[in-house]
């Protein structure tokens, strides 16, 4: 027996980017976007967003709280290419330029219900010491032209982080 044709299913994601721990940096904002395969399409909600700028709390845990809502519904016929949420965090450096402080990505959970995910963040690093100094001095860090690269597996060999 064969199924009638591709069956469509919906995936509804709602939640928030709650907070972050960045021991060395302050006054950060974050951007989120979704990366998904060819068989997926968003039907409702926002695919990208930029949060407010937040400062560290005064108490012992030094949390950076955004409480930034995420609300999106996807339509798909195939679990391959399950959506990933890509987060990029930016903040000012010593000279006041806006530089990237971290990228991270995680798959949207598979099972219905309430989930909490903690995402480790990484930054690309220049390979030579002179380049590291120049980029610190000029405020131009190595940055991805398209943050969606963080959600893909290919081509990572060339990037130190």
């Amino acid at each position: 027996m064969a199924a009638g044709g591709p069956s469509v299913f919906l995936l509804m994601v709602n939640g928030q980017v709650e907070s972050a721990q960045f021991p060395e940096f302050d006054n950060l904002y974050c951007k989120y976007c979704f990366v998904y395969g060819q068989d997926w399409a968003p039907t409702a909600g926002l695919e990208e967003g930029i949060s407010q700028i937040t400062s560290k709390s005064r108490d012992a845990c030094h949390a950076l709280v955004w409480n930034f809502p995420i609300d999106i519904t996807f339509k798909s016929t195939n679990p391959f290419g399950w959506p990933q949420i890509v987060l990029s965090v930016y903040g000012p450096d010593v000279f006041g330029n806006d530089v990237v402080r971290g990228y991270g990505a995680v798959h949207v959970p598979f099972s219905p219900g309430r989930h909490k995910r903690t995402i480790p963040m990484f930054v690309p690093e220049s390979t030579s010491k002179l380049q590291k100094f120049t980029s610190w001095f000029m405020g131009r860090r190595p940055e991805y032209t398209d943050p969606k690269v963080v959600a893909q597996g290919e081509g990572r060999e060339a990037q130190p982080s």
Partner: protein, 175 residues
Amino acid sequence: MAEVHVIGQIMGATGFSESSLFCKWGVHTGAAWKLLSGIREGQTQVDTPQVGDMAYWSHPIDLHFATKGLQGWPRLHLQVWSQDSFGRCQLAGYGFCHVPSSPGTHQLTCPTWRPLGSWREQLARAFVGGGPQLLHGDTIYSGADRYRLHTAAGGTVHLEIGLLLRHFDRYGVEC
């Protein structure tokens, strides 16, 4: 044909004595399995931990297999290497783990080992780097001929793997 989706991440590694680490990974399956979409092997970026001692890769894995039989259930094999400031790579550990067989999200920890070699090779590794490596990668996930090796423990690789199974009930497999 029954279908299996393996979707998850190689989160990172802890417990290695070296700090700038990257991981070469691959998924090995039996002859009855066919990869429909996804990339079966890859290499993560090199990560140097700034806070704490866990090197984070967050490398995504998204594979879609079709199979006619349960034999040769997918096995994920890993090679963790370290890269020093001169760009030289040194083996830090080999490991493998089976992809889970029940649907849902699983947190896996994969311990690693590295071949030791003779006392001369161990001394050379401590001073100059390098060290013995396996000639054939399939020894990582197969048990044949392992008795010849003398190995030492490496660190642990942490993975989060989610599994979705489809049409297994047509073949009489309950999951």
